[in-house]
């Protein structure tokens, strides 16, 4: 038996609200299955489980706020001796349940199984709902103190006695995100970063002409669905460079550097309406360029519709931010704690450049590194930038 606990989905996350169970007791789960939706400041995150087994009990109820590390469910794993899921109805005995022990205080009758509960819905008692409608209060914006956290008559009466209209109902978090909450999360993480992390900054100008020429040739004759973006090349080059420069791929924790398990590049995605998420591209160094393009396309779409998974939020071992074509020439990033580095690719611009003693027009980008001086030094940072540059000069090898 093991516990499935509330994951930490951000450096400053203390607790999360369980919005929806995607499994019920008795369900078989496999490593990587998404089993629950947790509402965080980054929006609704689909949380995965990291072992194989059978869900034996859902401890947390939908709507409940659980601290990071708090138990959400019990899972019977393969190593357990007790048989997985022994429904009483399958027993040959005529009884439907074992005789109960004579404990003095049995629990109250259990509420309806979570499987039957409507997802992510604010519970309002029928009487409370009717009263709220009569007096023009939105009951779903109230704090419920009734059975199972439901909004009860007393809660509506309290709102009425305060003479205030209820706060507007929280937007459906199942999809999308709350920009104000995300702003708070970014504020907390960035303030912590600048408070704790001694940043140092390096930058190099990189000739993107070989990479872009290779990319144009690759894309030529391919339908739009199979074309790649320059971002894929910079991502792959970064991931490969991190193999050689492991001190930038990991975390500063407990006063020392902890190398990341795998190269999971966080890709900063700007959200329409404001805000930013940097979900992980898992094992980016092992993906081919077309595979990387597929992952990127999927990740951007899901990030913008608020359907990221917990592991994507938790796992980045370093972050890449790319300002794109509309952005500025270069970026001096702020590290996302507890990571130790962030790489920035500025806008690709055409500039005069000296090649073989001749001034020629070339497409260039400013590659910058912000790194944690506790974990690495400038010399190592310079070598990381140099490796990325070399890799981009030979795009056919990526």
């Amino acid at each position: 038996m093991s516990d499935f606990t509330m994951p930490s989905l951000g450096a400053d996350m203390e607790s999360g609200k369980l919005v929806e169970w995607m499994v019920k007791p008795g369900d078989t789960v496999h490593q990587g299955d998404t089993v629950a939706v947790v509402e965080t400041q980054k929006g609704a995150i689909e949380v995965e489980i990291f072992e194989d087994g059978t869900v034996s009990e859902l401890v947390a109820k939908e709507g409940e706020t659980v601290p990071v590390g708090g138990v959400l469910a019990h899972v019977r794993t393969a190593g357990d001796k007790t048989p997985a899921a022994a429904p009483a109805t399958a027993a040959p005995a005529p009884v439907e349940a074992s005789p109960a022990p004579a404990s003095p205080a049995p629990p109250a009758p259990r509420p309806a199984p979570a499987a039957f509960a409507r997802t992510g819905r604010v519970k309002v008692s029928p009487a409370a709902r009717r009263l709220a409608a009569e007096i023009g209060i939105d009951p779903e914006g109230l704090i419920g103190t009734g059975v199972d956290g439901s909004v009860s008559l007393a809660d509506v009466e309290l709102a009425r006695s305060r003479g205030t209209k209820a706060a507007p109902a929280p937007s459906a978090r199942r999809t999308g995100f709350d920009p104000a909450e995300m702003r708070k999360a970014i504020a907390a993480a960035m303030a912590r970063s600048k408070r704790e992390i001694p940043h140092y900054y390096l930058a190099s100008t990189i000739d993107m002409e070989p990479a872009l020429a290779w990319l144009a040739a690759y894309n030529e004759g391919r339908p739009p669905t199979e074309r790649m973006l320059a971002a894929v090349l910079t991502l792959k080059a970064t991931a490969l460079a991190l193999r050689e420069h492991g001190q930038f791929n990991g975390f500063w924790q407990d006063g020392q550097f902890q190398p990341g398990k795998g190269i999971h590049v966080g890709w900063a995605i700007a959200l329409r309406g404001g805000g930013l998420v940097s979900p992980a591209i898992h094992d980016a160094d092992g993906l081919s360029l077309p595979e990387l393009m597929d992952v990127l396309r999927d990740l951007v779409a899901r990030a913008r519709s608020g359907r990221l998974r917990g592991s994507e939020i938790m796992d980045p071992t370093m972050t890449v931010t790319s300002l794109g074509e509309q952005g500025a020439d270069s970026v001096m990033g702020v590290i996302y704690p507890p990571q130790v580095a962030i790489l920035g690719f500025g806008r690709i611009v055409e500039r005069p450049w000296v090649v073989d003693g001749q001034v020629v027009p070339r497409r260039l980008t400013q590659l910058s590194l912000a790194a944690d001086h506790r974990a690495s030094d400038g010399h190592a940072g310079g070598r990381l930038l140099s490796t990325i540059e070399q890799l981009l000069l030979e795009p056919e090898k990526l």
Partner: protein, 331 residues
């Protein structure tokens, strides 16, 4: 009411006085059952009546419930007013065909030509370590059947006066007497000389949660209400008394005030009387509810013999307290 009636008496004594009263008042009345005569009844309810009224009116019957019920139905149709006793409702399953296919149907199938003014008394329920074949509660099943009235006296007063009302009913009436109640004592109000067999009663008023129950669970519900006071919860306890037809008006009036309801039923929860009442509240009173309906029923096992297991299998006061406080004071 005769002057020699003590004001305080046991439920058993109340049942006996009711039968004596009936036998004295109506010469058509007789008692039929296993061991009701020489032995005095397996719960001693008819003890002494053979000596007082003779074997013509206190008739020991063979160990055949179908015969007891069948001959009592015949006697009723023929104009007598039989009081049949069946030792426990477990055994009444042998008389089920007579009760359901004959007693409950003949008045209807004969277009009212034949009335069946029959009363059947049955012991019901667990709690006396009589094991699974003597301890079950089948009154909820019988309450499913149109054509019969089902009574469940939970107080000494009802034990004393329901029988007369049942005998006055021209249709069959079944009276379920809970075995743990026989030794309970209670007071008879000298002002009361009869009771109705139509309505439920509020046995204890309260404003926070309604506890609906009947028969042997009534004392547990009242004890739970006492304990709930300590938690700052005023529970209203409703005694159904009549399981068919159920007096929903009294239930609804109470739940509409308290907006919370716990139903206590010694039957098994699946397909029980408690299920019927919960369904009706949900159907008719949905918008009055401020919390889910809860039920406290017997565990879904044949009632065990061992005392501690039997106690755990049946509804307990602590279960009722937990259910009611969970609704009235969540968290």
């Amino acid at each position: 009411m005769s002057d020699d009636t003590p004001t305080r008496l046991t439920y058993r004594e109340a049942c006996k006085q009711a039968i004596r009263d009936a036998l004295n008042r109506d010469p058509r009345c007789l008692v039929m059952g296993e061991d009701v005569g020489l032995y005095g009844g397996c719960y001693a309810v008819t003890k002494g009546l053979l000596e007082e009224f003779g074997p013509e009116r206190i008739r020991d019957m063979p160990l055949a419930e179908g015969v007891i019920a069948g001959s009592a139905i015949g006697a009723a149709i023929a104009g007598l007013r039989p009081i049949a006793e069946i030792m426990t409702c477990n055994f009444s399953l042998l008389a089920l065909d007579q009760i359901i296919n004959n007693a409950a149907t003949i008045p209807h199938m004969s277009g009212g030509q034949f009335a069946v003014p029959l009363v059947v008394r049955l012991a019901t329920g667990g709690g006396r370590q009589l094991a699974a074949q003597h301890s079950h509660s089948f009154e909820g099943w019988y309450a499913h059947i149109p054509g019969i009235r089902i009574l469940a006296p939970g107080t000494v007063e009802d034990a004393r006066y329901m029988l007369a009302a049942a005998l006055d009913d021209p249709n069959p009436v079944l009276i379920f007497e809970h075995v743990v109640l026989y030794n309970d004592e209670g007071d008879l109000d000298p002002e009361v000389v009869s009771v109705d067999i139509d309505s439920a009663r509020v046995r204890r008023p309260g404003k926070d949660v309604t506890i609906v129950t009947y028969g042997g669970s009534l004392p547990k519900a009242l004890a739970a209400a006492d304990e709930l006071v300590g938690l700052g919860i005023e529970a209203e306890v409703i005694d159904l008394r009549v399981l068919r037809p159920v007096d929903t008006a009294t239930i609804y009036a109470s739940v509409a005030r308290t907006r919370r309801c716990v139903i206590v039923d010694e039957g098994w929860r699946s397909g029980s009387l408690s299920a019927e009442i919960a369904a009706r509240i949900a159907e008719d009173l949905f918008f009055e509810l401020d919390a889910p309906i809860r039920r406290v029923c017997s565990r879904e096992v044949p009632v065990p013999y061992a005392a501690h297991m039997e106690e755990a299998a049946l509804p307990r006061t602590a279960d009722i307290v937990a259910a009611a406080s969970g609704l009235a004071r969540p968290q």
